[in-house]
């Protein structure tokens, strides 16, 4: 190890290959992820701020159906991350048809998530939850719920479209392994964002006996 560091220190940079063993496209996606996670952080901090600043933040979510359904949604998304990882592995082994199949499964997970989420939104809207009011008091409850989950859903939907382009490209042999891996990075990121939204927005708003 020490020898390796010495070599790095004194070796003249040879140019041409990626110095940090990360290709430009992949680095670009990582940087996008850093930036986008700050947008979500801004929103989550804003949500926490108004939540703490209000006297009685509503905690209306019942274990059944809201939390169970949200857990199911989480399950869909997490499973899709697993299938995405399998797709990346298949593509690293050069197995194109398996790659496409796993990407399609990943997209299926994403679509299921969106459908379940849309059903939940419809239910809440039927209960009278709006951007500016809701049956439980503090109007910002609905506002922050729809803003956070809405922006996340937009990311999932964009991810499904992105993956469909990748799947199509892979099946035609146009995209390399790196392209699949990069789309995987995005998908895992979207998944990770949900792992913040699920506890902060859902679990913290469970009705207490």
């Amino acid at each position: 190890m020490a020898e390796h560091i010495e070599r790095l220190r004194f070796a003249e940079w040879e140019g041409g290959v990626s110095p940090f063993a990360v290709g430009s496209k992949k680095l670009g996606m990582w940087l996008f992820i850093v930036s986008d996670s700050l947008t979500f952080s801004g929103l989550l901090v804003g949500y926490s701020y108004v939540r703490i600043a209000s006297e009685r933040w509503p905690m209306p979510f019942e274990f059944w159906p809201t939390i169970v359904m949200a857990t199911l949604m989480t399950f869909c998304l997490l499973s899709s991350s697993l299938t995405m990882a399998l797709a990346v592995r298949a593509s690293s082994l050069g197995d194109r048809s398996r790659t496409v199949r796993f990407i399609l499964l990943t997209m299926l997970g994403g679509i299921l998530f969106i459908l379940l989420h849309a059903r939940e939104w419809a239910g809440l809207i039927a209960e009278g939850v709006r951007m500016w009011e809701n049956p439980w008091g503090v109007p910002l409850f609905g506002a922050s719920f729809f803003t956070l989950t809405g922006l996340h859903m937009l990311h999932v939907a964009s991810g499904v479209i992105y993956l469909s382009v990748i799947a199509l490209g892979v099946s035609r042999g146009r995209f390399t392994h790196e392209d699949v891996e990069i789309s995987g990075l995005y998908w895992h990121f979207v998944d990770l964002v949900w792992m913040f939204i699920f506890p902060l927005v859902y679990l913290l708003s469970v009705k207490m006996p």
């Binding site: 003249e12 940079w13 040879e14 140019g15 041409g16 290959v17 990626s18 110095p19 940090f20 990360v22 290709g23 430009s24 496209k25 680095l27 670009g28 940087l31 996008f32 850093v34 930036s35 986008d36 700050l38 947008t39 979500f40 952080s41 801004g42 929103l43 901090v45 804003g46 701020y49 108004v50 600043a53 209000s54 709006r130 951007m131 500016w132 503090v138 109007p139 910002l140 506002a143 922050s144 803003t147 922006l151 390399t176 790196e178």
Partner: protein
């Protein structure tokens, strides 16, 4: 591994080559020309404001021709004055100070200085410019919609910016357009930042290790990191603000707010949340504007002092320290917001500690100049002007960084004087230094020296004549953002200072015509430039002026030397190109 593959032939069609071009040099020039258009508009707006302040009762029928609705009767109403404040600030900060040094010079010279054929993502680069342009046009459109341009300042403070038309003209559609424009700018900055960081890390040529990067590249790189981390938070704030306005939410609107004798239906939000989100972006934005200027100044000072930059590594560390601290001090914009004095102390200490890396840079610049055979070229004059103004503006920053001094001065002209000098004028001097320095490379001709020197002295004296008296106004307690200076007894004795400032501003603005004339005249009629007219060391001076489409042609440059090897003992000349063979002298 994917590398940017340079197409060695430029595109044939005019549109692909000059309009929707993916060539970083064309994009850089597009950014520069956008900034020149924006700065012209910004200056015109500031002249309107200065005239209003100096001669409050005067009528200006000629000036009213530009804004026939807002200036009906030839006078500037207080509301229209606030529109001018908002648009001047927004245009200057986003579309001049961010666009020119980073989008303009950064795009043009970063790839060349690291020895790359183009940016890592040329198409994203093109998109970045066009999205920026769209943002600019959307912002200008705010002047022409019903109600006119917004009046909430470049900071768009809630609840004024959030409650809509009821609170004043321009807060309807004008404010919406403002938010959309800034959101577009955020997206464009993200695309730009991705490119800058990736290009710097991945596309360096053989031998161009990180410690051989010119300080300009380090400055653009750090600026890009700041942009990558700051703009997304503004985007988040912008989304919430837009929702407050169009979707009925109340993120930034508190309960029981009475506007124009009406209680608003909103409740539960906090205007301070906007300030936190805004300034978390807003303070790094100040450094986004100034850091490229520091890079250019270091570069130009070393070139014309014919000496290596003093303390290269310390300079790099100082840039990074300033960037890092920039994210921890946003609270110093909010000392008068009623924040806890304990957090104010923390923000105050962190703010003052920025003085340390700033002083490191300043003393390193001075040490670079010490006992040097200085060549007083026009870019050198502007770089020296940068140092002067950076120190002047920085000293008032130390005053304002202390809560006990900031609280009485915060809403006075003292702050206006401070931020104009440190982020406005200093950054503009960096831009001027860069323009005069790189003009021969960009256009293959020299700018006129005598006109340039005249431009420098008029501008240098002019900006001090404008902004030093503003400090006095501030200490005397003159509030900022007021259109009306008449009718307040305590302001009456200060009126002559306003008149003086306005005259100085008119002269300084007129002096910029010299620059514009020199610029455009020299593009066509200037003396032809050699490849390396300044006898400088970095890679852009090894290729023709203007550089060909793929910069270095088929051969990749190989770097053997650091960026500032001037007056090396034993060398044949007083500079060693970075590409000179290693045998020329021990590196």
């Amino acid at each position: 591994m994917t590398q940017a593959v340079a197409t060695h032939e430029p595109p044939r069609s005019f549109i692909r080559r000059y309009i929707f071009s993916t060539d970083h040099k064309v994009i850089g020039l597009q950014y520069l020309f956008l900034a020149m258009a924006a700065v012209t508009i910004g200056i015109v707006l500031s002249i309107y404001m200065r005239l209003r302040l100096a001669w409050p009762t005067e009528r200006w029928p000629l000036l009213a021709k530009l804004f026939p609705q807002a200036m009906a009767g030839g006078t500037i109403s207080p509301e229209f004055y606030l529109s001018l404040v908002t648009m001047h600030g927004t245009i200057m900060i986003f579309f001049v100070l961010t666009t020119a040094p980073l989008g303009g010079f950064g795009n043009y010279f970063l790839p060349i200085q690291v020895g790359a054929h183009d940016m890592a993502f040329p198409v994203l680069n093109m998109l970045s410019f066009w999205v920026t342009l769209a943002g600019f046009l959307v912002l200008l459109a705010a002047f022409f919609v019903s109600g006119g341009a917004p009046i909430s300042g470049w900071t768009a403070y809630a609840p004024l910016s959030a409650v809509g038309e009821i609170a004043g003209p321009g807060l309807g559609m004008g404010q919406n357009l403002w938010i959309v424009s800034i959101a577009l700018f955020c997206i464009a900055s993200l695309l730009g930042a991705l490119n800058f960081i990736t290009t710097t890390l991945n596309l360096r040529t053989k031998g161009m290790s990180m410690t051989r990067l010119p300080l300009t590249v380090w400055a653009w790189f750090t600026t890009a990191v700041l942009a990558l981390l700051a703009f997304p938070v503004l985007l988040a704030g912008g989304i919430l603000l837009l929702l407050d306005r169009v979707a009925g939410t109340s993120f930034f609107i508190p309960e029981g707010l009475i506007v124009s004798d009406k209680i608003l239906p909103h409740k539960g939000g906090s205007p301070l949340l906007w300030q936190h989100l805004f300034w978390f972006f807003g303070h790094p934005e100040v450094y986004i504007a100034i850091l490229p200027g520091m890079g250019i100044t270091s570069h130009v000072l070393s070139t014309f002092a014919r000496k290596p930059i003093f303390g290269y590594r310390a300079m790099v560390a100082a840039i990074f320290a300033i960037g890092l601290l920039g994210f921890l001090v946003w609270g110093h914009h909010m000392f008068v917001s009623g924040m806890s004095p304990y957090s104010a102390i923390a923000f105050s200490l962190l703010t003052l500690s920025i003085g340390v890396p700033s002083a490191i840079k300043t003393f390193n610049w001075l040490a670079t100049l010490y006992k040097a055979q200085i060549r007083f070229t026009v870019p050198m004059l502007f770089a020296l002007g940068f140092v002067s103004i950076f120190v002047t503006g920085g000293l008032s920053g130390i005053i304002l960084g202390q809560t006990s001094l900031d609280i009485p001065m915060h809403d006075t002209y003292f702050v206006v004087a401070h931020f104009h000098l440190i982020m406005g004028v200093a950054a503009i001097f960096g831009i001027f230094a860069g323009t005069y320095y790189w003009f021969p490379k960009m256009f293959g001709r020299m700018m006129n020296d005598a006109l340039g020197k005249l431009h420098f002295w008029l501008t240098f004296i002019g900006v001090y004549a404008i902004f030093i008296p503003m400090h006095i106004l501030g200490i005397a307690g003159h509030p900022r953002r007021y259109a009306e200076t008449a009718g307040f007894d305590f302001l009456a004795p200060l009126q002559p200072i306003h008149v003086f400032i306005t005259i100085a501003a008119l002269i300084t603005a007129a002096a910029q015509l010299l620059f514009f004339f020199n610029f455009f005249w020299s593009i066509w009629k200037g003396r032809r430039a050699e490849i390396n007219p300044w006898r400088a060391t970095t890679l852009e001076w090894t290729i023709p002026s203007p550089p060909p489409h793929d910069n270095f042609g088929p051969q990749v440059p190989v770097v053997h030397h650091g960026p500032y090897e001037y007056s090396v003992p034993g060398a044949a000349e007083d500079y060693i190109l970075q590409t000179a063979p290693p045998t020329a002298v021990k590196s």
